[in-house]
Symmetry: C2
Subunit: 170 residues, 2 copies
Amino acid sequence: MQFGIAVFPSKEVQDFANDWRIRHDPKYNAIPPHLTIRDKGDLSNERLKEAVAHLDAVASTLSPFTIRFNRVSTFFPVSNVLYLALEDPLPVQQLQQAICSGPLAIPAPNFVYTPHVTIGQQMDPDELHDLYGNLRMSDVSLESVIDRVHLLHATENGFWTAYQSFQFRG
Amino acid sequence: MQFGIAVFPSKEVQDFANDWRIRHDPKYNAIPPHLTIRDKGDLSNERLKEAVAHLDAVASTLSPFTIRFNRVSTFFPVSNVLYLALEDPLPVQQLQQAICSGPLAIPAPNFVYTPHVTIGQQMDPDELHDLYGNLRMSDVSLESVIDRVHLLHATENGFWTAYQSFQFRG
């Protein structure tokens, strides 16, 4: 079964993101606004047990922290994505490193992990530049307390269902 | 903020339900296939803490159990809903009673709790009867282990996001 790990930001951030996603994100229906911590991957029942034990152990060492989104940014030209960017990505990068270790280590990652909340993807380049041109000037100031991660699994339609939450207890 | 409590059945059950929901359930996008344990209600931050403590305490006393869906049924004429029905609803009814108590008690419930997974709702009566006529004869045999409940919260668009899972540890 396909599993993934994500953080869901506050309702305020989700509502802001959804206002754009409904028009600009084809995955609007598949999952609520989120920060991906680990991309989807297949887990057997045995590896799922290992992953759950690992997530539980990591969460027991982590403490809640606050993140702040301060702007809209883009991965263009690598991908036609608009996203909410963090003032300081470091705490989420550290969270990702702690989680994606041991049984959840990513073999030979070929990207720099950039925590973000997608607000548009698979966008037409003209549409992306129009919107980015407007939004990059806008005043974004959204906060969210991060105190848990969620392990999710996918159904055949590509939608995501909650499997288990792991609260930070450190 | 609006919260609700649900059980998500196995991927097999969700895939079966989604094959019908995509055409017959306007809430297909809002939440994965589920058994509602407690309908949505508003929780202040203080009442949320009480609810989480209550759910944690109840979950610590419950043991995992298996449910079996053995037919498609309908709430017509009360509501134009088609659903997957349980061979034996009692264990889920007991779960619902345990959870909807104390700070999550439902004041003056005006319905008999009937655990189900919706596969169609707000259906045109003719469409409902056509589909029910076909499906009531079909051979349904789907199982799911129930070993946790999920507390979810709603965003402004009416979609549901995972907040916390509570595993049965009894």
